[in-house]
């Protein structure tokens, strides 16, 4: 649970519908996210959770519906715009830059804030070096936070899965986001790793006040750390409320138990 | 008008030649997703083999008939091409089986260079002839409608007929035989095909063998028309736009693409050339391909590629 005081609505999704050709990924989904809260999106596989995150981060444009982030309409937007507005995300399948080291991967998260042009970069001494060192300090703090110091120069492809997940999180954190979207951050982890990751998520929310939307399959984690939950099934919303409310919702129970529709 | 028709026909005929080479590309790409840059080198290698064998066999075995020489040479060259194609598949492509397209492209580039040197080492590097026994006199047709008639080369007609025959044989093979069906399954979805028990490796072996055979047919036709020389290797570079225009995965696309490129090239050279300056033929095909790429990347007949995140 978030220890901060939950604020006003920061993200408002209204009647979002998304289809790929004939396949309806999302149908008329509406929910909101409040500032500083931890909002979970749950649902069986194929329910459309990742598509929802893709819509919020601007990767997909919904055919219908509106996305209102911090009072501005962002429905027809692209990932770059959402990034500049402080939306960061991690990926279900990692999507790390395999050819680069841990440190470089996290440094890419600072790209939007790095202003030196190519000529200054070519010369290096002076403005470029100063900027690089400045952002390096910031990323080192993230590396400390995630406890991956020994691996900072290792190419990410060589790290075990759990550590790669941390790097993914680190890269998103490097963007200093106000809204952090986590796509199954605990997938494939054992109990200890999940505890570590949960602690990181809570710390991020606690220390920086980052609003977090996370997709997660582990019910224990969801019930423990989230403030409110949205339940999707077959692209439709079937539940929305606090973890307790959702847990006792009959539709949700049916969806998870596989009762025929 | 007569001249225009001649240009059109000439362009179409050249296009048929391109299509023959492009067919080999499409076959391999359909079945394995590999773009075989070395197809041009294979065509050259095959043509060299056939030309030289047709030259050597009569002396070696002591007979005179041109037809027999050509037949034997063709059969032998076909066997050689099958072996060469196998070699490429097994030594180069199988070790690289899960790499990205660009890596495979560069590997086939390497194969091109290798085959180039190897072919010339084996068969020699002069210009050779493939004599199919066709008279070199052109035909004059439609003399009643157009003054002087329209000039047609017998080589070109033979080429067109052979191309039609090849496409027909291939179509029959793909549609009517079990192996052909398996090939189409593999072309659609490797994993699904594997899961129903189609042996991928064997299929690729067959595909490459067929591609090698196609290379021989193309080489024979080209060699008969132009003589067997080094510039044939440049064919790969010309056939690439054909496949872009027609679509990488489409046999009819290879035909249509080839005809379009051949036609377009000739028309551009004859009618635009005097205005812009000659040599248009060298890059017209690529310009057209580029335009198609920007407007309709999958080509006229290809399948749409959708990227899922």
């Amino acid at each position: 649970m978030s220890t901060r005081k939950i604020g006003e609505v920061i993200l408002d999704l209204r009647n979002i519908s998304l289809a790929f050709g004939g396949v309806k990924a999302l149908t008329d989904i509406s929910f909101d996210v409040r500032e500083h809260e931890i909002r979970a999106i749950i649902g069986p596989n194929g329910a459309g959770k990742s598509s929802m995150l893709n819509v919020i981060s601007g990767v997909y444009t919904p055919q219908q519906g509106e996305i209102i982030y911090r009072g501005e309409h962002h429905t027809h937007t692209d990932p770059h715009a959402m990034a500049t507005h402080g939306v960061a995300r991690t990926f279900q399948n990692l999507a790390l830059f395999k050819g680069m080291s841990v440190l470089d991967n996290i440094m890419t998260g600072r790209t939007l804030r790095m202003r030196t042009n190519i000529l200054q970069q070519a010369f290096w001494k002076g403005a470029a070096e100063r900027e690089e060192t400045l952002h390096r300090e910031f990323c080192e703090r993230i590396i400390d936070f995630l406890q991956i110091q020994p691996y900072r120069k290792t190419p990410v492809g060589r790290l075990p899965y759990g550590l790669q997940k941390r790097v993914d999180l680190g890269r998103a954190l490097a963007m200093e986001p106000s809204l952090l979207l986590l796509d199954e951050p605990m997938a494939g982890m054992n109990v200890e790793e999940k505890q570590d990751m949960s602690r990181f998520v809570l710390d991020v929310n606690d220390e920086f006040g980052t609003t977090i939307v996370l997709i997660e399959h582990d019910m224990g984690v969801v019930m423990d750390i989230s403030d409110r939950v949205v339940v999707l099934d077959y692209g439709k919303k079937i539940g929305d409320g606090t973890p307790d409310e959702v847990r006792s919702n009959q539709d949700v129970i049916n969806a998870y138990l596989g009762v025929s529709h | 008008m007569g001249f225009f028709l001649e240009v059109v026909l000439g362009g179409l005929m050249a296009g048929v030649l391109y299509s023959l080479v492009a067919l080999g590309f499409v076959l391999i790409f359909k079945a394995s997703g590999v773009f075989n840059f070395a197809q041009g080198a294979m065509v050259l290698f095959a043509a060299l083999a056939m030309a030289r064998l047709a030259e050597w066999l009569p002396d070696l075995l002591g007979f005179e008939s041109l037809l027999l020489a050509n037949l034997l040479a063709f059969v032998l060259a076909a066997l050689i091409m099958v072996v060469v194609a196998q070699g490429i598949e097994r030594l180069v492509l199988r070790p690289l089986v899960n790499q990205e397209g660009v890596t495979l492209l560069m590997a086939t580039l390497g194969v091109t260079y290798f085959l180039d040197g190897f072919g010339q080492t084996l068969w020699g590097s002069d210009v050779y002839k493939i004599d199919l026994g066709l008279s070199k006199d052109p035909l004059l047709v439609l003399g009643d409608f157009f003054e002087g008639g329209i000039l047609l080369n017998r080589d070109d007609i033979a080429a067109a007929l052979i191309a039609v025959a090849l496409v027909a044989v291939l179509a029959l093979f793909f549609q009517k035989t079990a192996t052909g069906r398996a090939l189409r399954a593999v072309a659609d979805d490797h994993q699904a095909a594997q899961s129903i028990g189609i042996p991928l490796n064997r299929i690729w072996v067959i595909v490459w063998a067929v591609a090698g055979f196609t290379a021989l047919v193309a080489g024979m036709v080209w060699g008969s028309k132009l003589g067997v020389q080094f510039s044939l290797a440049i064919l790969a570079l010309k056939a690439l736009p054909v496949v872009i225009v027609g679509g990488f995965t489409s046999v009819p696309g290879a035909i249509v693409g080839g005809l379009l490129i051949g036609l377009g090239e000739k028309l551009a050279e004859v009618y635009l050339g005097p205005i812009i300056g000659g040599g248009l033929e060298n890059w017209f095909a690529y310009g057209l391909a580029l335009a198609v790429l920007l407007v309709r990347p999958q080509g006229l007949f290809g399948e749409r590629i959708i990227d899922r995140v």
Partner: protein, 354 residues
């Protein structure tokens, strides 16, 4: 034992971010550079300069340029010869048509022209990739071949289609001996290689590599594919253009469009495949390899007492090239540069096994 980092503690991030953070590496590179600038001119013969060293230096630079685009940014290009041609011809026109134009100025203008052309021909990369992009770059190559062969303005209306430049002078010093030509090229190449390395270790280089590795994730972080790809084309073409001008002015002296045809493009591509894509050092390795191999092939059989004709040597060259490309792609896709760093890793442990 010799190659340990013991005792080399960095107290500032800027120390850690140096090009060669390990002291031994720095010494080695300094020594190499000193040897290249001082030792080589004293030791090498005229033949070595003309046949090996000068081509090596210039082609390394060209390969480096191509590596920025293909190796670091992941955009395949089969048209690098065309960019060399643009650099060469525009530099030529700047040098001969503008009175008092210094050589370096002409080179820079040639590079700038190549940069612009590079951006234009990079535009397809925004919509297509891989194989299709290779075709687009080939289109650029053939188109440029045609432009420089047909549009007489570029060749100053020369009747034969080929052009030549008079002896170069830089700051009053005449560049006419093999040594001076070599040093001139080496100086330019060193400066540009340093600049390239700086770009590659900063945020621009990281953006390129991000686009190469996972372009969707890159956009989500805020990297604009348009900016990254076009900047890669721009910088890469600039470097290749300057290399092209150097190749024409210093190495060839007089040339025709065929000097920059698709074979040159493929040649550069082979250099970076063998040398190592995504590695500045790899470009030098690859260039050295490709420059030296034909010479070896011509000389070694004679040394061994087995004479082969030049035609045969050329066939052998093709075969070996082809086989090596395939070999490297299968066995070590990161080329000689990776073998070099593996070697260094082993050296850190030597003489211990692990």
């Amino acid at each position: 034992m010799l190659y340990r980092e013991n005792g080399q503690f960095k107290t500032r991030y800027s120390d850690d971010q140096q090009i060669f953070p390990i002291l031994q590496d720095r010494w080695l590179v300094m020594a190499l550079i000193a040897f290249a600038f001082i030792g080589v001119p004293m030791l090498a013969s005229e033949y070595m300069f003309r046949a090996i060293l000068i081509p090596f230096v210039i082609l390394s630079l060209a390969a480096l340029g191509l590596n920025l685009l293909v190796g670091y940014c992941g955009q395949i290009s089969l048209g690098s010869g065309a960019f060399m041609a643009v650099g060469a011809y525009i530099a030529y026109n700047a040098y001969t048509r503008v009175p008092g134009m210094p050589v370096i100025g002409a080179f820079l203008i040639g590079g700038a022209a190549a940069l612009l052309v590079g951006i234009v021909f990079g535009i397809p990369s925004l919509r297509i990739r891989g194989l299709y992009l290779a075709v687009a770059t080939l289109a650029a190559q053939f188109f440029c071949d045609w432009v420089f062969a047909r549009i007489a303005w570029f060749t100053n209306y020369s009747a034969s289609g080929s052009v030549s430049v008079p002896t170069l002078t830089v700051a009053g010093i005449s560049i006419d001996t093999p040594q001076s030509k070599y040093l001139f090229c080496l100086a330019i190449a060193t400066v540009m290689a340093l600049a390239a390395k700086n770009i590659v270790r900063g945020h621009v280089g990281r953006s390129w590599m991000a686009i190469r590795d996972m372009d969707v994730a890159a956009t989500v972080i805020g990297i604009r594919p348009v900016t990254a790809k076009l900047s890669a084309f721009a910088v890469s073409s600039f470097v290749i253009g300057v290399a092209g001008a150097m190749w024409a002015f210093v190495h060839l002296g007089s040339w025709e469009p065929l000097a920059f045809d698709v074979n040159r493009s493929l040649n550069l591509l082979f250099m970076i495949i063998i040398g190592g894509m995504g590695s500045i050092m790899g470009s030098f390795f690859g260039a050295a390899f490709i420059v030296v191999l034909p010479i070896l092939l011509n000389q070694v059989p004679a040394w061994l007492g087995v004479p082969i004709s030049t035609a045969m040597a050329s066939h052998l060259e093709f075969m070996i090239f082809g086989a090596l490309i395939v070999f490297f792609l299968i066995v070590e896709p990161h080329g000689l540069a990776r073998l070099w760093s593996i070697g260094k890793e082993k050296l850190r442990l030597w003489p211990f096994p692990h």
